[in-house]
């Protein structure tokens, strides 16, 4: 915990410095785009590394007050400008029901895969694995992973997956990923925000500095929303020595309460009542 705090405060200072610099730059000219380092092919931007958000959007992607152990956060919804997800009236009613029942109704409670874009802003790191022509993300949460496929191939039809079907292309130094075939059995956060199987997501990944990765998701779902909307957040590079993804096995026990099982936690080795063996 102390390592995280030290890292958080030092990264925080860096962010403040960058914000000041950006503000200064904007008075004279548009913010220059960052030129990322390249893979060994000399062209592909190098996104490799271990990344993690530092906001608490995983609790609620809309703005929320602080609560025990959870820092308050502004909405990460950037469009519409009011930060609210543009639900249809009946969908908004369902979100309210989800919210009230969230302690037991959140699919994450049952160790289901987190889905997209939820996997990106969980309070656990992810690792980007990359070589020229290949792009994959391994998430620490519950063994989730996505292998991004070249956009030249069409999406699969008639199948709904927890983590969807992802096709990507490069738009300059921005990776643009088109995600479809998502199940409606996932939520977008712990607050019950949701989508249907008709959802279509356009993700944009862009390095804004050597250690900051901007993430944007445009979410379209004519069944649930009155119009497409967009969320945006920033992932920070984990820089402590030996940083790595650690195994996180999520098992549900007979009482329906999830457990994250790590070999680093000796308590977990003593438990023998997991219902999945």
């Amino acid at each position: 915990v102390s390592t995280t705090r030290v890292l958080a405060s030092s990264v925080g200072a860096g962010v403040v410095a960058m914000v000041v610099l950006a503000a200064a730059a904007q008075t004279t000219r548009p913010t220059p785009s960052f030129a990322p380092s390249r893979l060994w092919d000399g062209t592909t931007p190098d996104f490799r590394g271990i990344w993690q958000v530092r906001d608490t959007a995983y609790v609620n992607i809309e703005g929320h007050p602080g609560s025990k152990g959870i820092a308050a956060s502004k909405s990460i919804v950037v469009d519409p400008p009011d930060g609210r997800i543009p639900y249809k009236p009946e969908a908004l009613a369902r979100r309210r029901d989800n919210y009230r029942a969230r302690a037991t109704a959140d699919p994450a409670v049952y160790c289901y895969q987190p889905g997209v874009p939820r996997a990106t802003y969980l309070p656990t790191p992810l690792q980007i694995l990359q070589s020229p022509g290949n792009f994959a993300i391994v998430y620490q949460e519950n063994h989730s992973f996505r292998v991004f496929q070249a956009a030249a191939r069409p999406h699969f039809d008639n199948a709904d997956w927890w983590m969807g079907d992802t096709r990507y292309r490069w738009d300059g130094d921005t990776l643009v990923a088109d995600v479809a075939s998502l199940t409606d059995q996932v939520w977008l956060d712990q607050a019950g925000n949701f989508h249907s199987t008709e959802v279509h997501i356009l993700e944009r990944y862009r390095l804004t500095g050597p250690d900051t990765l901007e993430y944007e998701a445009r979410i379209e779902d004519p069944v649930v929303y009155t119009r497409p909307w967009t969320l945006r957040t920033v992932l920070f590079r984990l820089k402590q020595a030996g940083a790595r993804i650690i195994e996180d096995e999520c098992l549900e026990d007979a009482s329906g309460v999830r457990h994250h099982v790590s070999p680093y936690d000796p308590k977990n080795l003593l438990k023998s009542n997991y219902s999945r063996r």
Partner: protein, 95 residues
């Protein structure tokens, strides 16, 4: 590849061959031709095996148009149909 820190709760196959938390694996991946990886593993577990166990087999590259598809294993799912009776499928189900 040197692998340790196992929790001893895994099996090596569907036939109940097992290891415990002292398992230690050294894996070797070698390309022996353009589309073939030779996989070798030496499994040491002094509380289970009297000598290290060595295994070796080949992995074949599948056509480039193939892709990995999601297989999300959830509680409540059962794979017993994959077990033959000799492997204990019916006995396990009867428990």
């Amino acid at each position: 590849v040197d692998v340790s820190n196992f929790n001893g709760r895994t099996w090596l196959d569907m036939a109940a061959n097992f290891v415990d938390e002292n398992e230690h694996v050294v894996e070797r991946f070698s390309l022996i031709d353009r589309d073939t990886i030779l996989y070798e593993a030496t499994i040491t577990d002094p509380t289970v095996f009297v000598t290290p166990v060595q295994m070796r087999f080949t992995l074949k590259r599948v056509p480039a148009e193939q892709q990995i598809l999601e297989y999300s294993c959830l509680e409540g799912e059962r794979s017993l149909q994959h077990y033959t009776d000799e492997d204990g499928g019916k006995k396990r189900r009867a428990r």
